[in-house]
Amino acid sequence: MTDFERTLTRQDLLRYGAVGAAAIAVGAVPRSSLAGTRALAANPKSGGTLKFARSIAPTTLDPANTIIAGDIYTLDKIFEPLFVTSPAGKLTPWLATGYTLSKDKKTYTFDLRPGVKFSDGTPLTPADVVFSLDRSRKNPKGPLSFLDFAITSTGASGASKVVVQVSEPWAPLLSDVSAFSNAIMPANFGGASEASFFAHPIGTGPFTVSGFTPNAPSLTLKRNPSYWQKGKPYLDAVTFLFVDDDNQRLLQLRGGQADLIDLVPPSQVSSLKADSNVHVLLSSSWQVDLLVLNEKDPHFADRHVRRAISQAINTSALAHAATFGTAKPGGSFFPPSLQYYSPHTKLLGHSLSAARAELAKSKYPKGFSTEVLIDGGVQKWRTFAQIIQNQLKAIGITVKIRALDHAAFEEAFQKFDYKMFIDYAINDISDPDEMASFELDYKNGGSHSYWSSYNSASVTKLVRQAQSEFDSAKRAKLYAQIQSAVAQDAPFVALDYPPYINAYSTKVNGFAVNPGGAYRLENVWLA
């Protein structure tokens, strides 16, 4: 791989799909089945240090001020939120044991888990939760503070309850609270200054860090002896080794320098599977790779053109060729691992004759010339662009590829300086509203429908209805309608759903990744 460009957000962890020659069918590995069954197969053993080679070094451990992968997957071992998302994608009570919701659905009362202590031994109190939530939601620079916009106030109630008020009935609230940015830390940083607190952080998580330096070559986290889950974590310590080169990470795993690695290039999956000393884990993600069509361009303002493009693109061939079969081909704009994904979405499907017929109905029946913008540092996007270029040629659309470096690429599409662009979209939490409103609510979503300028009154209405619908059957129906409408209007084409790919030595047990890309290490043990 030649991706010298080191991208950073946690979404970017997934961008590094590598591409090469032969395609292999990895098949549908049931997520977490490997890790899950292996963990049960033997009694967990305590002790030892896990050496985990990861692509990106952390720059800060402050949950409220980062969206960077290296930071998030480090600080989430130290700080924990009220709820977490399990590897199966389900919300799980964590520092809260549960909650009650008022009749008007505007007041949540959370019950804090008894017996939880911070790593310095002080007990968790409602004041800590209030402090942490307020700090996160009121942070003007917080990349995820938008998740908390519905919260109007927070307060302690008694010795073990926290009351959260929302402005309107807001179904995604529990998911919002489960975001890493809403993790809990001691009120007023336990008396320390902010800077010194994050250099010597104190949390309730399974691991602690004794002194944090940004961007160090490695970082060792030690077992938190007062962790609330008795007997856990099994490991004495975790050492993260920061290795940005894909090949070097693989070599470190083969050489025994690392026990576990992240971001395995899809091209390497088949050869790793042949190695009996190594396990490969493919975990579904809340990510979908999209071809976005700019409706400010007259071609793409024409619904027939968009539909024709969607029909001309063969996502099965694309996913197979470009991801070595590791990714599932695209359909709905919701990834299959996301709550309320509908397998019955009315898709346009791939058919060249249908695509030609659709284009014939447009203002450009004979086709036209256009261009696709990509982040040129990522080989996967280059392959995608070339395949799409080829597939669209068949219906008379000539595509030029415009590759920019990461930062310039982001600036270009966010300024609508593009015709089509390819990028990932990701849900940060378990509730699909984030993706639905960010990609479809032109006015309130924050991105003018993922920079496509798609503006459908009926779809927007459904998206907003789903936000205040608490009945899950009714919500599922709303999201199914939304997914079908989007598939028919084709503001963007869902290209594929890539998995997270990890590899580890056979002595590692209990490792699992949730669809948000987070892995909790308290269940991991070394044989």
């Binding site: 010298f4 460009e5 080191r6 991208t7 950073l8 957000t9 080679a53 070094a57 720059t59 800060t60 001020n65 969206i67 960077i68 003007p140 620079k141 990349p143 995820l144 938008f146 330096t213 940004p214 961007n215 160090a216 070559p217 490695s218 080794l241 920061f242 290795v243 940005d244 080169d245 090949n247 070097q248 070599l251 470190q252 083969r254 050489g255 320098q257 540092g377 920019l404 470096d405 990461h406 930062a407 310039a408 982001e410 600036e411 270009a412 966010q414 960010f438 924050g446 991105s447």
Partner: protein, 310 residues
């Protein structure tokens, strides 16, 4: 000698200044906004604007440049946008890695070059000469990267003598971790040095004073000793240029061997437009290159009085 040194120092300062201006301009003219990179895609334009203002990125290019130069003069490289810490502290941690890598690679290059060049020169147009020349042509043709992979395969994966990569956490581990990357880097420059030193030695071997030495009955080894002192000058300035090249190539080598030095810091900072870090690292690398060239020039002048008088 002093006048010569002053002249060289002055031109070195001009080069450093030019690099400073060029880095600043390229970074600021190139599209890509650090505020967007830090805030993520959910940030509103107002939030992005506020951060740009806080970082002074909304000021005119001219006033940003003067502030940057003023800060450097005061020894202040600013704060990293991403790590939210002082650029100086980020660099301090990494500069020793890069310096150690360059130092060890230079040492290896010299250790490889001297005996091989001497052997080839002494056995001119015979088997050892052909072997050395063949090897250096092969070395020039093959990418250093490939040597790195082969070295890892042999010494780390098969023999388990050295780590695959990484910096380790003790002095001994640092040294062990540096051997393979330094060897890889030295393979990239040793062939050029060998060829240059060999030619120089052959020329000197034909000189009259060598005939005199031989006539005096000196052994071949001692003759080579006299010869190398005279032949080393062109190789020395080549070495200087190559150390400069080496400093540049650490960007790739550090990545391949997972060494967190200045090169890897530079790469990650460029992609996220962490302006203060990119500017500081580029400046330091430029100063390093200029200093090495200056030192070799001065050393050459010291060894050969003719250079000073030019």
């Amino acid at each position: 000698m002093l006048r010569y040194a002053r002249r060289r120092l002055l031109s070195a300062a001009v080069v450093v200044l030019a690099v400073t201006v060029a880095t600043f301009l390229i970074l600021h003219v190139e599209p890509g906004d650090p505020a967007r990179a830090v805030l993520g895609e959910h940030a509103t334009p107002t939030e992005v604007q506020a951060l740009r203002h806080q970082w002074g990125l909304d000021a005119s290019l001219g006033s940003q440049f003067w502030r940057y130069v003023g800060d450097i003069v005061r020894g202040d490289f600013g704060r990293s946008y991403l790590a939210q810490t002082s650029t100086t502290s980020l660099i301090r941690e990494r500069i020793s890695v890069t310096a150690a890598l360059v130092g060890m690679a230079t040492l290896f290059s010299i250790l490889i070059t001297l005996p091989l060049a001497a052997l080839a020169a002494a056995r001119k147009e015979r088997l050892p000469d052909h072997l050395v020349r063949g090897l250096s042509v092969a070395g020039l043709g093959l990418p250093a990267f490939w040597f790195g992979i082969v070295l890892i395969e042999i010494f780390a994966l098969r023999l388990h003598l050295l780590p695959v990569g990484g910096w380790g956490d003790s002095f001994g581990a640092h040294i062990e971790g540096l051997i393979l990357p330094a060897l890889t880097a030295s393979f990239a420059i040793a062939p050029i040095l060998i060829r240059s030193l060999r030619v120089g030695m052959i020329e000197v071997l034909d000189a009259d004073f060598v005939a005199t030495l031989r006539a005096k009955g000196l052994g071949e080894l001692r003759v080579l000793g006299h010869v190398s002192r005279n032949a080393v000058l062109p190789a020395l300035s080549l070495l200087g240029i190559n150390i400069a090249y080496l400093i540049g190539s650490t960007v790739v080598i550090e990545r391949v061997f997972a060494l967190q030095g200045l090169g890897s810091l530079l790469l990650s900072s460029i992609s996220e437009r962490d302006f203060p870090v990119v500017q500081a690292v580029t400046l330091i690398l430029a100063v390093g290159v200029v200093l090495i060239n200056l030192l070799t020039d001065l050393l050459a002048a010291r060894l050969d009085p003719r250079i000073r008088l030019e």
